[in-house]
């Protein structure tokens, strides 16, 4: 495949924080998209103006050599695994270290319905989280729950903007973003994906706490909803210290979890949580 003739300015579609997207004009994959996983990395600048890489931040502050290739391999591993389990994704093939071919898809979105009103804004995309444990924002929002308590694959939908905003399934259908049938389909799909990922880590003695994915409507075929974007270790929380205890709790929570409260701001972290780099190593051996 002659990538050089595809990855040109005239085929360029758009750029995300770490990926560039190109439309393939001819050949075997005509009409499909090429996802280029770049080395761009998000983070912040410290007091001395030096970039500090941190996937929790949204601004690109520099490049990490090899990052794109690692992300592409990780996503490829999970897209192929999901395909084996019969779960539809936008993935077609991986054609180089850092280039993946995917079905074009549109995010679940909605134009602003009242553009004549100041402050109206389109819904650009939805993100879907699933939670097996009460970590991160779940505990910060609902601090009556025991930190890292077991949850039964709780699924939440978020409207994506500068800050993500929780939206209930009833509001998604009530506002006309999705039909009730689509919501049922999506809940089942997210649960299946979460389960496949859970089992893949569990087979290595690891526990997936929570994760985040994007779904979209495939442009080909009947336009149904499938997993798009990527499976990224940056948005998977996985730990190597989980031990099921009584009352939905993890036996090791006391030694693993640190919480704090400063003003109204809560923080929570887990000592036994693996870094994105550690997760990547597991699947790229």
């Amino acid at each position: 495949m002659e990538l050089q003739s595809i990855l040109t300015r005239e085929n360029f579609v758009s750029s995300g924080k770490s990926k560039d997207i190109y439309r393939i004009p001819s050949g075997q994959y005509k009409g499909k998209y090429a996802f280029v996983f770049t080395d761009r990395a998000t983070g912040y600048f410290d007091e001395k103006g030096k970039p500090v890489f941190d996937p929790g931040y949204d601004n690109v502050v520099g490049e990490i050599p090899g990052k794109g290739s690692v992300a592409c391999k990780f996503a490829t591993y999970f897209f192929r695994l999901l395909a084996k389990r019969g779960i539809q994704t936008h993935y077609i093939d991986t054609v180089s270290d850092n280039v993946m071919i995917v079905e074009p898809a549109t995010p679940i979105s909605m134009p602003e319905q009242g553009p004549e009103f100041e402050g109206s804004a389109p819904l650009l995309n939805l993100e879907w989280t699933w939670r097996n444990s009460a970590m991160g924002s779940f505990w910060r929002r609902y601090p009556f729950v025991r930190p890292c308590a077991d949850l039964p694959q709780v699924i939440e939908a978020w409207t994506k903007d500068k800050t993500d905003t929780l939206i209930t399934f009833d509001s998604l259908t009530g506002a006309g973003v999705m039909t009730e049938e689509e919501v049922s389909t999506v809940k089942e799909l997210v649960k299946k994906i979460a389960q496949v990922i859970y089992e893949e880590f569990a087979a290595r003695g690891l526990h997936v706490l929570d994760g985040k994915i994007e779904l979209g409507r495939l442009k080909s075929g009947d336009g149904h909803i499938a997993l798009i974007d990527e499976i990224s270790p940056d948005v998977l929380r996985v730990c190597n210290g989980y031990k099921k205890g009584e009352n939905r709790s993890c036996v090791n929570a006391r030694e693993c979890i640190t919480t704090s409260l400063s003003g109204d701001k809560r923080r929570i972290s887990a000592k036994y949580q693996l870094s994105a780099a550690e997760l990547e190593k597991i699947f790229l051996k």
Copy 2:
């Protein structure tokens, strides 16, 4: 009924922002609660230190003579109406201008499950909103929706704290706050209450945009979930300019609704919305 012998320090249970609660020690209503609607009013202090009354604020800044009696009459009207429609509430009787007898009930709450973790906090209460129109925080959170667009009685649950936090029904059951059966019951109950209130205003040519209520478990009988606290005009949005248009919109939205965006902060207001005082007048003639 000798109220003076009931409303004493030794029978005092607790105080809310505007209500005082007493346990009735003997007589016909032994074991029930007396709700005293006081004249206390919330608001803020202006630059000159003068109190400005505003139900949108949470701090008590003074008293408005007659406020308690009006609130008691308004709540009595709606509790009696709901009883006629077969909807269970904690209401028993109104025994003076500003005193109501109610069944003791406990809010839907949960002790903190991990008190040894800093920042843990109990769930003290849940609030339930229903929305027939995309006003207030619904539009501010989801500005892709047309301001004041029709919504099909969308119900949301909120954990009550300094700021209210949205919680999905799946999270309520997943975290063990309620069972799935209780969630179904509650959704039906809120919808029924919303419908009764809607029709009562509609009979006067008015349109209920949204409202907020509290539910609790009655201490008597089988402890099932019923409407508690009060029906207050402070948390009902009602307008006198609604006219159903196409695509879920109100024909008069363009002249009625004002929105603005300053930084990330959205505002929305409706010219044809009635004030709490106007709502009270309708039912206290």
